[in-house]
Amino acid sequence: MTTFEAILLTIVTASTPLLIAALGELVTERSGVLNLGVEGMMVMGAACSFAAAVTFDSTLIGVVAGMLAGALMAALFALLVLGFAANQTGSGLALTILGLGLSGLIGAPFVGARRDPVAPIDIPGLSDIPVIGRLFFEQDLFVYASIVLTILVGLYLMRTRSGLTLRSIGENHTSANALGLPVWRVRFWAILFGGACAGLAGAYLALVYTRFWSPGMTAGRGWIALALVVFAAWRPGWVLVGAYIFGAATVLQLHAQAAQFGVPSQVLSAVPYLATILALLLLSIRHGRAIGAPGSLGVPFVPDR
């Protein structure tokens, strides 16, 4: 394997958790709910998945535990913002703080433990193609799943009845309610889906990317996922593009630092963020209109009854 191939492989690994978490948040936001707690749900996913995987010595159980943890956190958020029509910004920030603290507690006994790498799935024949073979056809299951998930979310939102309902509710919940669409129910499931995705992204970080637990290991990836949704103008395809641009920049700046270009490392560390903003800015300029947020995003829904 050449260095070039190795770099490409690590880019995929760095991008996947961002993609998964951002897709979940995208669905939540398309339903009109802004959940700033992605970071908290993600880090809880990481802690719980790692704890479960070590305890039961099973990656599968770990993954399920991570998704459940994320969904449970999301359910708490849903109780606040749907049940009590609480301010979504405040509730989301609180969720992140709670998640960072609670995950430290849960993960404490597992600091220093390690997991074996998850075996990649090798598609015979195709993975032997030079350069792109290993990149596209010898990845772990999560990578394939994240691509499939992008397509499914896109199809769901734009091609299904239920997706239309969800978009309508996000666009204008007063109208949706007047038409008799189930605003609360749809938003509840959208929030839960977002939580489960954030948890899955956390599980990927702990079980595949680092294979150990350390407190606060998400290191702002939840926030980046949130930003990706905005920059991608609430479109799944663009989230995919954005996640990979960011992942690439993250990996390349590490190599650039190693190569000692004489540029301060702090500047290089900022490159991924700048690259993401720039690339997505260019995309949205070219695309012109209709990059607006869902009309009811972040507004508590209180029907008159």
């Binding site: 009845r161 239309l164 109208s175 949706a176």
Partner: protein
């Protein structure tokens, strides 16, 4: 009184003793109402009379505190709009229940049951459009459509569900006269086919044109059920308001003189994504006259108001002159200091700060008067000004100095208009002065504007309400897609001519407006 054809079976729907209580407020008080099959029944009343509450109960959006609903003689409960629709109720909302970023077909599909796919919606849409003359393009995004087209979506949405009863809430408030006439034809046709229609309005003329029975609400109660064709508009208005509504006193204008406002060749690019550009606007308002600007919403009225008030500055200072001073590049406050006053369309949030008290709200436009001195607020003076506005303009307040958001729409509008008039401005520009305001308050506001003009100020009224403009304006122009027609004395306009200008066909037909 009865419908022309005596009903044979039970009424399609019957409301008995419907009440709805919000805290201390009784929004609906023991309301009885029955609608026969195929009947067009009017529900009349001022704002706040309880019309919207009643139809929301009927449509399952809110639940009644007491009372009974019978459908073809059977008592039922309607727990949600979905249940209402499955019974055969369709509703066209006053503030459309549409989704701006979705396409026409998507907007229709989302309200229908699950067995409608987008492609069947498209097919049916074409069919219904042809049958009822409701032209719509299935793939356009809603934000690109006119109000009339948006309303068509709502109507088609209902028709696709084969309704037995169609409820329309103030359907003509956003339409040109021609569009309204088109709607009436559609409704007549539906009624002939056996569909009942509940028509909510406060416009008497159209109720007399359409309906044989009208139920009149006042303060949550039914005050009468009448045949609107057998009563005069004045009698019906008296029933709605509870006392006779007087006409506006408009003495002949003493010869207006002096150009208080001159707008010359004003052009502007649209401010926002969905905005309208202004094209080469020319306008003169003289001291002592009311100038009316008519037009269908979204044709550049808000942009024109923003340009006149200084919320957006003109590219050339000479395109706007107030009292002879070139002020196109001046901000709002500088223009106020020249003697101008402005009342924007949106009362809450634009004309008044919702969570501030009325006295604090006087400060918004009174920076140059007695309420502040060298940057400090004189609260006593502000309270005094607020009190004199409240008294002078009959503003009904729940407490002494309440927050602006606690006032009802009509009372807040009286307050913001009063706040400007009390400064005795040389020029006042008002956008939609009586939008959503009840008849009593509307009359007071119009009278105050006319009186101000008669005292020698120039008054510019931008309004969608043609009746209002015919009542108050001395000269009028029509705005269409950012272009202003020539100003003509009000006597030279007919409603038809205005309608043609509103549709932008007058110029095309070679000046057909000069009737």
């Amino acid at each position: 009184m009865k419908a022309d054809v005596p009903p044979s079976g039970p009424p399609l729907v019957e409301l008995k003793g419907i009440s709805k209580r919000y805290g201390d407020l009784l929004a609906n008080d023991e309301i009885d109402l029955s609608i026969e099959p195929g009947e067009i029944h009017a529900l009349l009343g001022e704002n706040g009379a309880g019309k919207s509450t009643l139809v929301k109960i009927l449509y399952g959006v809110i639940e009644p505190s007491a009372g009974e609903i019978r459908w073809e003689g059977q008592p039922i409960t309607i727990a949600s709009p979905v249940e209402a629709r499955s019974l055969g109720l369709g509703m066209v909302f006053q503030h459309f229940s549409l989704f701006d970023e979705l396409s026409v077909a998507e907007n229709i599909a989302v309200a229908l049951s699950d067995d409608w796919s987008l492609s069947t919606v498209r097919d049916k849409l074409g069919e219904i459009s042809r049958t009822y003359g409701l032209a719509l393009d299935a793939d356009r995004a809603v934000w690109t459509l006119s109000a009339g087209e948006r309303q068509r979506i709502e109507i088609v949405r209902c028709l696709l569900q084969n309704p037995r009863l169609l409820i329309l809430d103030e359907p003509t408030s956003v339409l040109t006269p021609q569009e309204a006439e088109h709607l009436f034809t559609t409704l007549d046709r539906l009624s002939e086919e056996g569909c009942s229609i509940l028509y909510i309005s406060h416009k008497l003329e159209e109720v007399r044109r359409l309906c044989r029975r009208a139920t009149i609400l006042r303060a949550g109660r039914v005050v009468a059920t009448i045949d609107p064709r057998a009563s005069s508009a004045r009698e019906i208005a008296a029933l709605m308001v509870g006392n006779a509504v007087g006409d506006i006193r408009t003495d002949a204008p003493h010869h207006p003189q002096g150009e208080t406002l001159r707008v010359s060749n004003l052009s502007m690019t649209p401010a926002g994504l969905h905005g309208q550009a202004l094209r080469d606007i020319n306008l003169v308002a003289r001291a002592g006259e009311v100038v009316g600007i008519a037009g269908v919403a979204g044709n550049g009225q808000s942009e024109l108001f923003a340009a006149l008030s200084g919320e957006r500055l003109a590219d050339h200072p000479e395109s706007i002159a107030i009292n002879g001073k070139l002020s196109g590049a001046m901000g709002i406050d500088a223009r106020r200091r020249l003697g101008a006053a402005f009342v924007p369309e949106e009362r809450l949030g634009h004309a008044a700060a919702p969570t501030h008290s009325l006295s604090e709200n006087t400060l918004i436009s009174h920076a140059a008067t007695e309420v502040s001195r060298s940057g400090f607020i004189l609260m006593n003076a502000a309270r005094r000004v607020a009190r004199s506005i409240v008294q002078g303009f009959d503003v009904r307040t729940p407490e002494g100095d309440p927050q602006a958001r606690k006032l009802s729409g009509g009372n807040l509008q009286k307050f913001v208009i009063g706040r400007e008039i009390i400064r005795r401005p040389k020029l006042i520009i008002v956008d939609q002065p009586t939008w959503g305001v009840d008849a009593g308050a509307a009359r007071l506001i119009r009278q105050a504007l006319v009186d101000l003009a008669r005292e020698g100020s120039a008054v510019v009224v931008i309004s969608q309400d043609l009746d209002e403009l015919f009542e108050v304006a001395d000269r009028m122009a029509v705005i269409h897609q950012g272009t202003l027609s020539p100003l003509r004395p009000i006597g030279e306009w007919t409603k038809e001519a205005v309608g043609l200008e509103m549709l932008g066909v007058a110029q095309a037909q070679g000046g057909a407006h000069a009737v």
